[in-house]
C-alpha cells in the first residue's frame, strides 16, 4: 500500500514517497513524511510494518549522527547503506526482526550520487532506479523504458511524474500526494509535493 521510488542521475538522486499513514481501512494522516535525514546528503526512505519503520529508521539515523560526533566526519552513503544492511541482517535472525523495506539515497564527494535498494531480508543492491511497494509492479517497466544514465533534473522529474500518473491510473489505492526530494552536491532539496490529479 505504500510506495517509494528513487531515480539516480549523473550528479543527483531524486526520491519520492507517498504521504499516506493508514491503519486498517482508514487513512489516518495525509501528510506523513516517510523520509529520514541521516546526514546532510543522505536520505533513508522507509516503509513496512507499522512501528518497525520508525524504530529502525530512527535507530540508524541516531547511529549515523553519533558516528559524525565521534569521528568528526560523516559516513559516506555506501558505508551508511552497508551499516544499515548489517543491522537489518543481525535483527533478522533474532526474536525481533524488523520488517522494513528501505531506499537509501545519498551523494558522496568522491563516488558521486548513489541509490541503494534494501528489502526486509536485508538484501542490498546499488541500482540506478528502484521502487518499493505494490506500486513498484506498475512503475518499474516505465523506469526501464525511459531511464538513461544521463538524465537531467527536469527529465528525471518528468519520468517520476509519468510513474505517478500510471499509479494514479491503475493502482487500486488512492495515493493523493507524494513528497519529492532531490539530493546533489549541495545537499537535500525539497521539491514541491506532487499531487497527481485524477484522470
Amino acid at each position: 500500500m505504500e510506495y517509494l521510488i528513487g531515480i539516480q542521475g549523473p550528479d543527483f538522486v531524486l526520491v519520492a514517497a507517498d504521504n499516506v499513514a493508514a491503519s486498517s481501512i482508514i487513512q489516518m494522516k495525509h501528510d506523513y513524511d516517510k523520509m529520514f535525514k541521516l546526514s546532510e546528503k543522505i536520505l533513508l526512505l522507509c516503509v513496512g510494518e507499522a512501528g518497525d519503520t520508525v524504530q529502525f529508521a530512527e535507530y540508524i539515523q541516531k547511529n549515523v549522527q553519533l558516528y559524525k560526533m565521534r569521528n568528526g566526519y560523516e559516513l559516506s552513503p555506501a558505508a551508511a547503506a552497508n551499516f544499515t544492511r548489517k543491522n537489518l541482517a543481525d535483527y533478522l535472525r533474532s526474536r525481533t526482526p524488523y520488517h522494513v523495506n528501505l531506499l537509501l539515497a545519498g551523494y558522496d564527494e568522491t563516488d558521486g550520487p548513489g541509490l541503494y535498494y534494501m528489502d526486509y531480508l536485508s538484501a542490498l543492491a546499488k541500482a540506478p532506479f528502484a521502487a518499493h511497494g505494490y506500486g513498484a509492479f506498475l512503475t518499474l517497466s516505465i523506469l526501464d523504458r525511459y531511464y538513461r544514465p544521463d538524465l537531467t533534473r527536469e527529465e528525471a522529474v518528468d519520468l517520476l511524474k509519468k510513474c505517478l500518473e500510471e499509479l494514479n491510473k491503475r493502482f487500486i489505492m488512492n495515493l493523493p500526494s507524494f513528497t519529492v526530494r532531490l539530493i546533489d552536491k549541495d545537499g537535500i532539496h525539497d521539491m514541491e509535493k506532487l499531487p497527481v490529479g485524477p484522470k
Binding site: 491503519s23 486498517s24 489516518m28 510494518e49 507499522a50 512501528g51
Partner: protein, 289 residues
C-alpha cells in the same frame, strides 16, 4: 489444524448442497490475516469473522481547534456479544493538561494509563518540568514496544504551554501520529465521516462540543460495540473540563422527533407554496390551456 476443520466444512457443503457453487475452497487463515474478497463474503458463516480488522469495540476521538482540544468517547465495554459494562470510563486524565483515550482490552488500557501517569509524574519530579505531549507519546510508544501483540491504541490529547493544542495517536504496534483529528476504535470510520465534514479550525467551543457529541452519537448508532453514554473533555490552557456524561439513547428519540417535525414543516410550506401558485390566477386562466 484450524485449516483442516475449515476444509472439512467446505467438503460437507460439496456433498450435501448446491452451495459448493457459491463457495470457493477455503484458504488457510491466520487470525489477523489481510482480508480478501472471498473472506468478506464468508462473514455470515462464522459470527466472529469481520470484513476487515475492526479494531476494538469502542469509539473514541480527539481533535484540536482554535480554543483547545476536545476528547470524546462512548462508555460501552463489550466482550464479544455481551456488554460487560455500560458505564465504563475510557478517557483518563493524566495530569491537568493531558488526557488519554484508550481502546483495546480494558485491563490493558487501565494498566497503561496508570503506568503512563506515574512515569510522567516521576519525570516531572526529576526534571522539574512537565513532559511535552511528543515526549509522552514517545515514552508510551517505547513502553508499548515489547508488547506489540497486545493491540491497544491510545489517543493522547493535550494542551501544552508552548506547543498549544496537540492530539497524538499511539498504537501498540508502534505507529505514532500527530494530527488534527484522530479517532480510534470500531466506531471510528463513522466518527471520521462526521468529523471530516464539520471540522474547522475556527470553531467555537459550542460547535466543537456539538460536533464531537454528534460524531460519537452516529458511531454508537451504527456500531454494535459502541454505545450507552458519551463522555466529553475540553482541554484549554487552564486545564481540562469535563462535560456531564450524557445518555445517547434519549438523543436518538429526540432526533427522530426533530426530523418528523421538520418533515411536517416542509410539507406545510410546500402546500402553502402550491396554494399560493394556484391562488395567483383564476382557475379558468390560460394555465389550464
Amino acid at each position: 489444524h484450524m485449516c483442516m476443520y475449515v476444509c472439512g466444512t467446505a467438503s460437507e457443503f460439496d456433498r450435501d448442497s448446491a452451495f459448493h457453487f457459491l463457495f470457493p475452497p477455503w484458504q488457510c487463515s491466520r487470525k489477523n490475516r489481510v482480508p480478501t474478497l472471498f473472506s468478506s463474503t464468508f462473514s455470515s458463516l462464522s459470527p466472529n469473522q469481520q470484513p476487515f480488522q475492526l479494531s476494538h469495540g469502542t469509539t473514541t476521538l480527539g481533535f484540536i481547534f482554535q480554543d483547545g482540544v476536545i476528547a470524546a468517547a462512548d462508555t460501552r465495554a463489550s466482550c464479544k456479544g455481551l456488554i460487560c459494562c455500560p458505564i465504563s470510563q475510557k478517557i483518563m486524565p493524566i495530569h491537568s493538561h493531558l488526557v488519554v483515550n484508550t481502546s483495546g482490552s480494558s485491563a490493558d488500557c487501565m494498566l497503561w494509563e496508570w503506568i503512563l501517569t506515574h512515569e510522567m509524574r516521576l519525570y516531572q519530579l526529576r526534571h522539574r518540568k512537565r513532559l511535552s505531549v511528543n515526549g509522552a507519546a514517545k515514552l508510551l510508544s517505547t513502553m508499548l514496544h515489547p508488547f506489540k501483540d497486545q493491540n491497544t491504541k491510545n489517543v493522547l490529547s493535550t494542551f501544552g504551554g508552548r506547543s498549544g493544542p496537540r492530539v497524538c495517536y499511539v498504537c501498540s504496534d508502534g505507529l505514532q501520529l500527530k494530527g488534527e483529528i484522530i479517532s480510534v476504535g470500531s466506531g471510528s470510520p463513522y466518527a471520521y465521516a462526521v468529523l471530516d465534514d464539520g471540522w474547522r479550525w475556527g470553531m467555537t467551543v459550542d460547535e466543537a462540543v456539538a460536533l464531537a457529541r454528534e460524531a460519537v452519537f452516529r458511531a454508537t448508532h451504527w456500531d454494535a460495540y459502541s454505545g450507552n453514554n458519551v463522555d466529553l473533555f475540553h482541554i484549554t490552557a487552564h486545564g481540562w473540563r469535563r462535560r456531564d456524561r450524557e445518555d445517547l439513547k434519549e438523543e436518538y428519540y429526540r432526533e427522530r422527533e426533530r426530523k418528523s417535525k421538520k418533515i411536517k414543516e416542509r410539507e406545510k410550506e410546500r402546500q402553502k407554496r402550491e396554494g399560493d401558485e394556484l391562488g395567483e390566477g383564476d382557475i379558468y386562466s390560460v394555465h389550464c390551456g
